[in-house]
């Protein structure tokens, strides 16, 4: 029975997606049922799996692909971290997208690819070896492309081209590196000690090159500078897509891949032995600062958020590259925390765009009076991004800082401080505008019957995620929180 | 010079002549004829290959093959002629000088 959970989780989004493709545009109810049904079923299955994994019952499924090559699905603690994040946020984003795309054309196509995208993300989370990971990683690349260009404007198509050029370019490099590594090291099952540590020292040169190739190719999706160009331009996509793209699927897939490569393919000890991690840490640090600096000068809200993502995702990499238990905790927990915070911000940006037609920051004067709930969620998430205690972002930063000290690299603190200052200087002015500047526009007043600021479908998801931002921080040490789970992973990774 | 070699040599010469004609001549009928001449050259080689040693007994297998080959070649010639005639009726040309890329739609 438990063997079937893994494929069932994959199919819970894949099947509805495929069915949705074939539905005519008018069958809203059936489509919505399929979407939400799939999301709920997936959530339940993931919860079931959670209890299995928490009891250390790892399930695994192997399917032969070629002689000596298998599709391996396996649920370990790390997979589950990513899986829970994606399943939960997918559920919210589905609700949000249903509200967001009300009455817009091509919804069947949109939700179809949307489900494919999530299936691919699920596959990435559940991948038990490098080959499987690559398969789902590329599937994600391609299923996201139609979402990026969904609007069909020339600008969207242009962004799509850039997206495709970068991600597929990264994809082929990843492909080569994986084939090469497979040819050197044999089967590439993810295992806590890595699979390459025992190889002939004569191969260490090749391994270093492979490591660099893997990091660079995965770094495209993780938006490491200078491979981040696609991310801000992909902002042209509809808000639910941006939300998912930034918070869950694409950038996280890159970061998750880098974690897998470092932890489960090369092994932390071996990577550190080959001095592979320090350059990565430097790259991540540079990205953190660079992304924030670029975010400062953006007037388009979503672009500013995009550069903020560029910066924030590298926290994860920084934590992983420090290779100490505390830093790993900080990095991994940021995987979740950043996801929840960023999705909130994008939901709110989407609400502004959809309800009031606001896209630019200088149009946001006093919007807090018109949409107080949305903007409250925005504020919480933005403060979390800055890293104010006790919000989620603070927890990540605290552990990252401690981890940096433990790794004997106190410069990390300077990076964290610099980033916090920069984050503050691109978020706080926005918050100031929202709450304290009198509004210059007269927005259409709410047309909803009870005078709500916007529809429930658009309002509930950001409120839930904003609440999560608070709870992930305030209840960080409770059983079941992201931090709790990540500490479990770190203990397993490094030993008690 | 053994008959086998003679046959082989003339077969190859025929093949070459046919090849040259096929490529150089523009008239469709000439091309069809050229292809037939090439085929004849190949068949002659086959006939020559049927001679093994000095037994003087001809190997029947190549002859059977040639017979088959002639049938194939006949079919091709027929189809080619039909097509050529049809093309001639449609365009009035006897060559392949049709710019195909611009003529779809």
């Amino acid at each position: 029975m438990s063997d079937l959970i893994l494929p069932a989780i994959l199919l819970s989004s894949l099947l509805p997606g495929l069915i949705i493709f074939t539905l005519p545009e008018e069958s809203v109810r059936l489509r919505t049922t399929l979407n939400l049904g799939g999301a709920v079923v997936k959530l339940l299955l993931v919860a079931l799996l959670f209890f299995h994994v928490a009891k250390r019952e790892y399930t695994e499924l192997r399917l032969p692909l070629l002689p000596d090559m298998e599709l391996v699905l396996r649920a370990d603690a790390l997979s589950l971290l990513f899986l829970i994040l994606s399943a939960f946020l997918w559920f919210l984003t589905t609700i949000y997208a249903i509200g967001y795309l009300e009455d817009s054309p091509n919804r069947s196509r949109f939700f179809g690819f949307f489900s494919l995208c999530v299936s691919a993300t699920t596959g990435i989370a559940l991948a038990g070896d490098m080959v499987t990971f690559v398969i789902f990683y590329e599937a994600l690349t391609i299923s996201t492309y139609p979402l990026v260009i969904h609007r069909g404007t020339p600008a969207a198509l242009h962004a799509g081209r850039i997206y495709l050029a970068y991600t597929l370019g990264g994809g082929v490099v990843l492909f080569i590196a994986t084939v090469w590594l497979r040819a050197i090291a044999g089967p590439l099952d993810f295992s806590p000690d890595g699979v390459v540590a025992s190889l002939d020292p004569a191969l260490h040169g090749s391994l270093t090159i492979i490591f660099a190739l893997l990091i660079l190719s995965l770094g495209v999706k993780a938006a490491l500078v200078p491979l981040h160009i696609w991310l801000p331009s992909a902002m042209i996509a509809p808000a639910p897509v941006s939300a998912l793209l930034h918070a869950v699927a694409v950038v996280k897939a890159g970061a998750f891949g880098i974690i897998r490569v470092i932890h489960d393919i090369f092994g932390i000890g071996f990577s550190a032995e080959l001095n592979l991690l320090f350059p990565l840490a430097l790259m991540a640090a540079f990205t953190i600062i660079y992304g924030s600096i670029r975010a400062l000068s953006q007037n388009d809200l979503k672009r500013r958020l995009a550069f903020s993502t560029v910066s924030q995702v590298s926290y994860i990499l920084l934590g992983v590259a420090m290779a100490t238990p505390l830093a790993t905790i900080g990095g991994l927990v940021h995987l979740v925390h950043q996801g929840v915070m960023k999705i909130t911000l994008f939901f709110c940006a989407g609400n502004l765009a959809e309800t009031l037609g606001i896209h630019k920051i200088d149009e946001m004067d006093g919007v807090g009076r018109r949409m107080p709930w949305t903007m409250a969620a925005f504020t919480v998430a933005a403060l979390g991004m800055i890293g104010l205690p006790p919000l989620a972002g603070f927890i990540s930063k605290w552990y990252l800082g401690l981890g940096g000290l433990a790794a004997g690299q106190p410069w990390v603190i300077i990076v964290l401080i610099g980033s916090t200052l920069l984050n503050a200087s691109y978020f706080l002015p926005v918050l100031h505008r929202i709450w304290f500047v009198p509004s210059r526009q007269d927005w259409p007043s709410s047309t909803l019957r009870d005078g709500r600021e916007t529809t429930w479908a658009l309002l509930i998801p950001p409120l839930i995620t904003a609440m999560l931002v608070v709870m992930l921080g305030v209840l960080a040490h409770s059983v079941g929180s992201a931090l709790y789970w990540v500490e479990l992973i770190a203990t397993r990774e490094y030993g008690p | 010079m053994s008959p086998a070699l003679l046959y082989t040599g003339s077969g190859i010469i025929l093949f070459s002549i046919g090849l040259h004609a096929l490529l150089v001549h523009r008239h469709l009928l000439r091309k069809i004829l050229a292809a037939n001449i090439m085929g004849s050259g190949v068949f002659m080689v086959f006939i020559a290959m049927g001679v093994h040693g000095d037994s003087g007994v001809a190997d029947p297998v190549p002859q059977a093959m040639v017979l088959t080959g002639i049938v194939v070649s006949l079919c091709f010639t027929a189809v080619a002629i039909v097509l050529a005639v049809r093309l001639n009726k449609l365009t009035g040309c006897t060559t392949l000088a049709v710019d195909e890329e611009s003529s779809i739609d």
Partner: protein, 566 residues
């Protein structure tokens, strides 16, 4: 109720009240009862057995709350001041259009300020400190005047810088001491290599809050910009949060650090005199009070400096510092709230004298007149001056005396200014404002006469009348003299501080940056149709050639030859 819940209630009640304010139907009732959110804190502070330390492991990353001796006096001050300011604010904001927004920030700020007095571990201290600092921004810019916005901007910048430096300091401290408890920091840091760095970071981070020179310049901007009740808590309670942080995090009582001691004493003296001088030059009562706060906060700083020089004396000195904080907080709060009552000075009724008396009392207390808490606090401080690593004891005593003269002078000028400007005050006065003010008056008097009643940790000090009297008398005399001789000289001064300097510097930097900005790179013209790229055109032509049978035949023959030859 378990102790954990009681302790959590202290910061939570204001938070919940703030949340309740967002619900429109509840708003009227909640607005009226909002000040009472500070009551649990006050009760806890007054009950000596309440507030035993508790550990809440699931909260954030392990929370330790409790009321210790230092905490109790700060909690008392904070709760009392917020209660009074809250009562005052009920009337003060009655007709304000942004009433709800004000109260939300007021309550958030209250929650942070109350919470940080309870915090026994770094994270919760940092959490509440941050909450208080950021919520205060909403109070400072509440009036949305250009002056307030500028003050808010400067305040916010300094807060953020302070936050990150505090973050770094706490991080380092947590790493070195391997503990999150504040009580472990002092001991753990004593022998660490990174101690100077950590202390430096702390001094800057907390110094911003306390107004340590040269990080003080936000104070005279922000305190006057905020509405009066907010100014009262800003200047009375929140400024003490920095002091509390200093008391909690510096290795007091465990390490002898003459260098740091000298630095702090020097800074304290500088602040004491700088605040007075700058204050005297102001003609806005609130600005003057803000400078007075800078001046006054110098004294506890001196005390902390003395403590660093003589760790063995710290257990005696600590109550003095706490008492000083209490005394100053209450008096300064009363003065700020009193500023709003200045209109009463212009009425021809008895109220005019009641108000003046009411203002005179905290002013005298601040100056350290006998029978007031000010005298107690200053006397307490003076008894430790011998420990100073710099300057002679008697010289220090004289300096402190001079500072007291200056303070009296300053207070004199304040009263004179209030009297002069009473006519222009348009503030409507309600009963709840009076109730808030009265509460503070009562507290000020009580602390002076009977310190043991309000706080179990008050020092048992006997005040020497002459020592306390001469500076006040001298100062008052000077003030009266100045009132008549210099009346026209200092009325129109507008004195800038470091902020003006900094802004000029930044502006200049901006100009330089703008001047050196490179012109935009010329854009390459995009190929009109990329299909017409030369390479692709070449391909197309070649493809056309290949399509000719003769060309193809030649290629075929060439290929055949190549295969034959290979």
């Amino acid at each position: 109720m378990s102790p954990a819940i009681v302790l959590l209630l202290i910061p939570l009640l204001p938070l919940l009240t703030a949340c309740a304010l967002t619900i429109a139907p509840l708003r009227r009732i909640v607005l009226f009862s909002a000040p009472l959110a500070a009551v649990p804190g006050l009760v806890t502070a007054l009950l000596p057995e309440a507030g035993a330390p508790v550990v809440i492991p699931w909260l954030v990353i392990g929370t330790h709350l409790g009321v210790d001796d230092t905490g109790r006096i700060f909690l008392l001050l904070t709760a009392l001041l917020w209660l009074a300011a809250g009562l005052y604010a009920v009337g003060y904001t009655k007709n304000s259009p942004q009433q709800v927004r004000f109260w939300i920030f007021f309550l958030l700020c209250m929650s942070g300020n109350l919470g940080l007095t309870l915090a026994l571990d770094m994270i919760s201290f940092y959490v509440f400190f941050t909450l208080m600092n950021f919520a205060a921004y909403g109070l400072i810019i509440h009036d949305a005047t250009p002056f307030a916005l500028r003050a808010g901007r400067i305040y916010l910048w300094l807060v953020i810088i302070g936050e990150v430096l505090l973050f770094a300091a706490l991080l380092l401290a947590a790493w070195i001491t391997e503990s999150m408890l504040l009580s472990d920091v002092a001991g753990g840091l004593a022998n660490a290599d990174a101690m100077p760095l950590i202390l430096g970071l702390l001094l800057v981070a907390l110094g911003i809050k306390m107004g340590v020179i040269p990080l003080h310049f936000w104070l005279p901007l922000a305190h006057p910009a905020a509405p009066l009740p907010a100014s009262a808590v800003l200047s009375g309670a929140m400024i003490k949060a920095g002091l509390l942080g200093l008391l909690r995090l510096f290795p007091l009582g465990t390490a002898t650090l003459p260098g740091w001691s000298a630095t702090l004493i020097g800074l304290g003296l500088l602040m004491a005199f700088f605040g007075i001088l700058m204050g005297l030059l102001q003609n806005q009562p609130k600005t003057l009070l803000a400078y007075s706060s800078i001046s006054q906060i110098g004294f506890p700083l001196i005390a902390v400096g003395l403590g660093l020089a003589a760790p063995q004396q710290w257990h005696l000195l600590a109550p003095v510092v706490g008492f000083y904080a209490l005394h100053h907080g209450l008096s300064k709060g009363a003065l700020f709230l009193g500023v709003g009552m200045a209109g009463q000075l212009n009425t021809p009724t008895l109220m005019r004298y009641v108000t003046f008396g009411g203002l005179l009392l905290p002013a005298l207390t601040l100056a350290g007149a006998p029978l007031t808490s000010g005298a107690l606090a200053k006397t307490g401080l003076k008894s430790f001056l011998a420990q100073s690593p710099i300057l002679d004891e008697s010289l220090l005593a004289i300096l402190l005396g001079l500072a007291a003269v200056g303070t009296t002078l300053l207070m004199g000028r304040l009263l004179i200014l209030l009297w002069q400007q009473a006519g222009s005050s348009t503030q409507a006065i309600t009963k709840s404002m009076w109730s808030g003010l009265s509460l503070l008056f009562a507290a000020v008097i009580l602390v002076g006469i009977y310190p043991e009643m309000l706080t179990s940790s008050a020092p048992g000090i006997s005040v020497k009348w002459f020592d306390a009297l001469w500076p006040v008398a001298g100062g008052a005399l000077l003030a009266l003299l100045g009132r008549y001789s210099l009346r026209n000289c200092v009325t129109n001064l507008r004195v800038g501080d470091v902020d003006v300097l900094l802004e000029a510097l930044l502006r200049r930097l901006g100009e330089i940056a703008a001047a050196t900005k490179l012109p935009p790179l010329p854009q390459l013209p995009r190929a009109a149709r990329w299909q017409n790229l030369p390479l692709l055109l070449l391909l197309r032509d070649t493809e056309q050639q290949l399509r000719q049978l003769s060309v193809a035949g030649v290629i075929f023959i060439l290929l055949l030859l190549a295969l034959l030859l290979l």
